[in-house]
């Protein structure tokens, strides 16, 4: 790494931290009912259960929801970085491995059987996610190696298959159709501390890829080259794939299937700071969190007191931003 790149990297991380903090503050303060910074400090110091309706809004509704959006956004962005680079495919998002569809199927079972969201629906979603990962894994395994190409195709195929099952369940259980559709669209509406507790399990998985940054950099040159350079390619693939799947499954199990963040944030970050994973991973983590936080903020406020599904907002915000950056890079180079 040249000293200039290193300096850019540090600058990038510092900038990402600043943006992250600003977005966190905005998300906590703004909403259909806005809270001034002074009030925020007041509620924080007074603790839960005080401060009247404002305190209830902050502690029971706003804070857990914002935390959840940030954790889910970070999880999806990190999973997106891992999978795009493992598959060497820019169109990859956290959902291609079939994990999200599996999780959605699990949640759909939970809805149709009228189980409580927590812990049963979440557990079913996690189980569904990991079950599809296991299936895809077995299909892609040959002589102890995982064929990345087969894994991608198997993941996409199983996604379609599982989605077809969900469609049949939706038609059969028509009185639950709305619940299933809204779950699939993804939302942080009505989520609170129990969901945050589940999402916290994603935090260790966000750290894992940082230890594999060197391996990921080398894998960008292809598996053959990585083997020549002495990388334990299979081990790196196993750990990274499982990490991405765990992040996706946890995110989907608490929020539904929220698109675009996992696809676009890694690209935006690479466009801004280059491909090195020591920089891309932490910046994508912070950027994914910030983007999801802002998207949820817009989803709460744009049509208040009504709400817009957050997945719609991530696309509305993400797509133009992405196109702009693509154009800028082309004219710059």
């Amino acid at each position: 790494m040249t000293s200039r790149a290193r300096r850019n990297g540090r600058l990038g991380i510092a900038l990402a931290v600043a943006i992250f903090a600003a977005c966190l503050l905005l998300s906590l303060a703004l909403g259909p009912v806005s809270l001034s910074p002074a009030k925020l400090v007041g509620y924080l110091t007074a603790g839960p259960g005080s401060g009247g309706p404002g305190g209830i809004i902050f502690w029971d509704i706003r804070l857990p929801r914002v935390l959840l959006a940030f954790i889910v956004g970070a999880s999806l962005a990190v999973a997106g970085v891992i999978l795009q680079d493992l598959f060497l495919n820019p169109l990859t998002d956290p959902y291609v491995t079939g994990v999200s569809s599996g999780a959605a199927l699990g949640a759909t079972f939970g809805i149709v059987l009228h189980l409580a969201p927590l812990p049963w629906m979440t557990l079913l979603a996690l189980a569904g996610g990991f079950a599809t990962l296991a299936t895809v894994w077995v299909v892609a395994r040959r002589r102890g190696r995982i064929d990345i190409y087969v894994l991608l195709l198997a993941g996409v195929t199983i996604s379609y298959f599982v989605t077809a099952i969900i469609s049949v369940m939706m038609i059969r259980a028509h009185e639950d159709m709305d619940a299933i559709i809204y779950w699939l669209l993804g939302s942080f509406n009505g989520r609170s501390w129990p969901e945050v507790e589940v999402a916290l399990f994603a935090l260790p998985f966000m750290v894992v890829p940082l230890f594999f940054a060197r391996e990921m950099n080398i894998l960008l040159q292809g598996e053959k080259r990585a083997l020549e350079l002495g990388v334990d390619v299979e081990r790196a693939k196993r750990v990274l794939l499982f990490t991405a799947a765990a992040l996706t499954a946890i995110a989907v199990s608490v929020s539904g299937v929220i698109g675009f963040v996992g696809l676009v944030v890694p690209h935006i970050v690479r466009l801004l700071v280059g491909p090195g994973h020591q920089r891309v991973l932490p910046i994508a983590l912070l950027g994914g969190a910030a983007m999801m936080g802002i998207a949820d903020l817009l989803s709460r406020t744009m049509l208040a007191p009504s709400e817009v599904p957050v997945g719609v907002v991530t696309t509305f915000v993400g797509a133009p931003l992405f196109v702009y950056l693509l154009r800028r890079r082309r004219s710059g180079s």
């Binding site: 309706p53 159709m177 709305d178 619940a179 939302s187 009505g190 501390w193 709460r300 007191p305």
Partner: protein
Amino acid sequence: MSTTRVRRLTAAILLLAALALGAVALSACGSGSDTASTAASPSAGPITVTDDTGATVTLDQPAQKVVSIAPADTEIAYAIGGGSKMVGGTTYDDYPEEAKSLAKVGDFSNPSVEKIVALEPDLVLAAGGIQAGLRSKLEKLGMQVFVVDPTTYDGVMDDITQLGELMGLEANAAKVVEDMTTAKEEVQARVASLDRPATFIEVYSKPLMTAGSKTFIDDLVTLAGGRNIGAQAGTGFPNFSSEVLVKDDPAVYVAMSGSQSAPGAIAKRPGYSGLAAVKDGKVYVVEDNLIARPGPRLAQGLEQLAAMIHPEASPAP
């Protein structure tokens, strides 16, 4: 293509066309004689009404074979004594009991056009919203479609009157409307001088959804002496922010039973602990078919809502 083939094809088409013409002519004669026979009845002459979509529905004579693809319409048809004219319904039909045994043409959101056609109805009763696209399809197939999509309690009564005309059951319909009017006036008299407590109607819980303005549920809340918080969120059935719910602090919280919420479970939701309705024990679950179906049972729904919003002014159940 050779000329002989073209000639043969033309001949075949002409023959088919002639057959079709003959069939149309024959059926025209048939229906002509029908009209003649019913001309003796007092309600002769075409019946024309304008439904909730502004479309005109015209029948030459009172409907004899009716298919309903909306459970509310089925309830109206039975309530005005038209049960014997019903030939088809949907899997959603559950009231009255006899409606359950109607031939099924599918479910509410996706009825089968083929099955409806096969029953040869002279009138199809539908709802608005997701069934809007279906109307043109059915009308192209030569069917008369009456859409019940009212936005007020009075609008429901108008629809009942109109359906009475279409089915030749005006007197029965007038009786149903009279009962509904009485129920409305009694409730209004009881709550007229009282405050209007902020009331929240939960239509759905995941996500939180309410009844906005220009819905007959909003009208019911107003008639029952409440102030519908959901009206500020727009028309129809919008999502509703839980933050705004806490801020607006409803004194009465009514969940529809289709929302699958028990009063105890509702009180435990995040942020709900501070709601006046929770503190005062004014969280209720109402049978959703009584307030969500624009039919005659809306009168019962109105009475129940009034008892929840103003228990002090309502007779003990």
